[in-house]
């Protein structure tokens, strides 16, 4: 079991080990959450690397990653535990065939650990190799308020009550990361129990750093242009501006197509990687893209002259 980092620098280093480029502010929030054993609540637009944090933590700390993907209608049976009904049925039949008539014993038998199917939340409370696991509750906003309310108990006491067995509580509370795309507001009661962090789009420098780690095959000059172009797109009035994931995809796509320099045609051909709404594509394609590209080129040229 690897130990938790002792200070913010340590946390920053830890994230860096798995090629996660993080702001110091994010590292501070992660550090607090690790040290004080509270869930970390990450909110932000799609594609800014929220889920990635949980993966990186599990990798660098050597903990298991338990992932609970939320969706509408997520219930206790698929999030916490379920009984293995068919096995229970067979057990009852067997007992019948053997002529067992002790009802209490049969009850104890079929509602025992043997027939319990563990779902992510229960798994996360159980001891595992390498220390308490990392529990990722992904896209919490997709589930409904009822499930959110259920989570309150789990997240504040790290225990789960199963009527037939009793209360199961975690010896070592898991490291909990909750993400939300904010398709609806999460109730304050839940947020109150967590450390909150809004994951924003990175600035150009940081994005370039991310790109050099995540898409190392792309040419450096091309990467710079890609980053500048995306940064400008984010300032525009679009329905959905591209996230970091899109930047990485775009750089990789351009590399795949053997494009070493951005041209208006190349942008038009690959715009679908960056923008996912037809309105946005129609707005940018053609003259607008060419205009942005010109600005990017002249800016890079100025920067080069200044450094030369």
């Amino acid at each position: 079991m690897s130990t938790l980092p002792e200070n913010v620098e340590g946390t920053l280093e830890l994230l860096g080990k798995a090629n996660y480029v993080s702001d110091r502010s994010l590292a501070t929030a992660v550090h607090l959450s690790l040290q004080l054993g509270r869930p970390l609540f990450l909110e932000g637009e799609a594609g800014v690397g929220k889920t990635e944090i949980a993966k990186v933590l599990s990798e660098t700390l050597g903990r298991n990653l338990v992932r609970l993907q939320c969706y509408e209608g997520l219930d206790v049976a698929s999030a916490v535990y379920e009984w293995n009904y068919s096995a229970q049925m067979i057990e009852i039949r067997m007992a019948e065939a053997e002529g067992m008539s002790d009802r209490d014993r049969l009850g104890d038998d079929i509602f025992s650990d043997r027939f319990l199917i563990r779902r992510p939340l229960l798994q996360a409370l159980e001891p595992s190799d390498g220390g308490a696991p990392v529990l990722l509750i992904d896209e919490l906003d997709r589930t409904d308020e009822a499930f959110e309310a259920y989570l309150l108990e789990v997240l504040s006491d790290f225990q789960i009550t199963i009527p037939e067995i009793g209360t199961i509580s975690a010896e070592n509370p898991p490291i909990v990361i909750i993400t939300s795309n904010r398709t609806r507001e999460i109730h304050d009661a839940l947020k109150r129990r967590c450390f909150y962090y809004w994951v924003d789009y990175p600035d150009a420098e940081r994005e370039l750093e991310i790109l050099s780690l995540k898409a190392p095959q792309a040419d450096e000059k091309l990467s710079r242009m890609v980053v500048e172009f995306v940064q400008r797109l984010r300032e525009m009035d679009l329905f959905k501006v591209p996230g970091i994931a899109e930047t990485i995809d775009w750089a990789s796509a351009l590399h795949q197509l053997d494009i070493i320099e951005l041209t208006p045609e190349a942008i038009d051909d690959t715009l679908g990687v960056l923008l996912k709404y037809q309105d946005d594509i129609a707005k940018i394609r053609g003259s607008e893209a060419a205009k942005i590209l010109d600005e990017v080129k002249s800016e890079i040229a100025t920067a080069q002259r200044a450094s030369a």
């Binding site: 906003d141 398709t183 329905f239």
Partner: protein
Amino acid sequence: MSDKAIPDEARPALQSRAKLDELEAANIRAGSGKIATNIMHFARVLRSAGLPVGPGKVIEGIKAVETIGLDSRDDFYWALHAVFVNRRDQREIFDQAFHVFWRNPKLLERMAQLVLPSFVDPEAQQQAEEMNRRLAEALKQNPPDMPGEGEGTGEEEDPDVTVDAVMTWSANEVLQETDFEKMSREELEAAKRAIARMRLPIMEVPTRRFKRDMRGNRIDMRATLRAAMRGGGGAIPLQYRKRKRRHPPLVVLCDISGSMSRYSRMVLHFMHAITNDRDRVHTFLFGTRLTNVTRQLRYKDVDEALDKVGEAVDDWSGGTRIGHSLHDFNTNWSRRVLGQGAVVLFISDGLDRDAADGLEDEIERLHMSCRRLIWLNPLLRYDRYEPKSLGAQALLPHVDEFRSIHNLESLDQLSEILTKPAPDKGFGTNPWQEAAA
């Protein structure tokens, strides 16, 4: 500084200086020093600025700072941020409060020293005094309603608006506070009766959750097994379950421009009723800009709720910029409130000051992001109403349903109209769509 200049929030703190000192002394003994007290003061500033910061958060804030240490101002900032902020829009207030409150760069250093000493030195005493004054200042500079201030004054003049004399809506944005007159008792009684009867004819949709129901069509294994245990394992009586049904979320977008002003009171009463009738309702008003009034309408008392709405909205009875407002909704709110298949109730007369500029794209986007878009139009009260205005022309092809709310002056009739079941959505063009074509 005179006593008067100190905001109410700070006064108790000043008065209970002796108590505070005691607390501080205890704190220093406990090893956390004056920083704890200051974090508490900081939390109070945030609370008075409208952030939900309770005592529990203060303790957590202190713990967080103890964990992070006081070496770096940035870490200190983000540690407090992680604890005190829990919505993105609170960040601005936090940031300002932080910089005002902790602005003395040497303060942190001195505080770091204060964590350590085992005696109370006179300088620390002075420090406390200074801090309290600073707190008072911070509060003075951060009145609770500050965040909204910038927007309120920014758009007051709207110089290049041409007055269109043909139509009846007012071209200038009239920034005025509408004073909701209290309803007469009779009216109130009638309204109450009407509201009590009011049911929105919006379908319930099946959810992915189940409930036990013996007439259900799926077997509830868990209940079956339990029943089997009760029966002794001889026979296994099957138990059933079926899908729960539930109203989809409802979003109301209501036009409060000049041309709608005669209806707005009744519409607001109506919106208050439906906002409190069920969960997952979001209410927005728009004239020249969009305002979310969901929280205001949650007040149980209708007069109080409407007062709050009156305070929150400052473009009553002005012009209409439907396209602009919808654009605002689409970019800032649609992803947050239309998430789970919402039904949108769009209340407007379709008269647009911007001559439907950009309206078609926006209404189409809205239509595509929701389960069903219902347009309630008071102008339909006229028999010969034809959607000839540019706004209506742009809106019509993109709505699922087009209903009149004529006679809106009477809530009674409004609820009656809304209670009628929705007409079948046929495959051909609807009559109003033909009219628009």
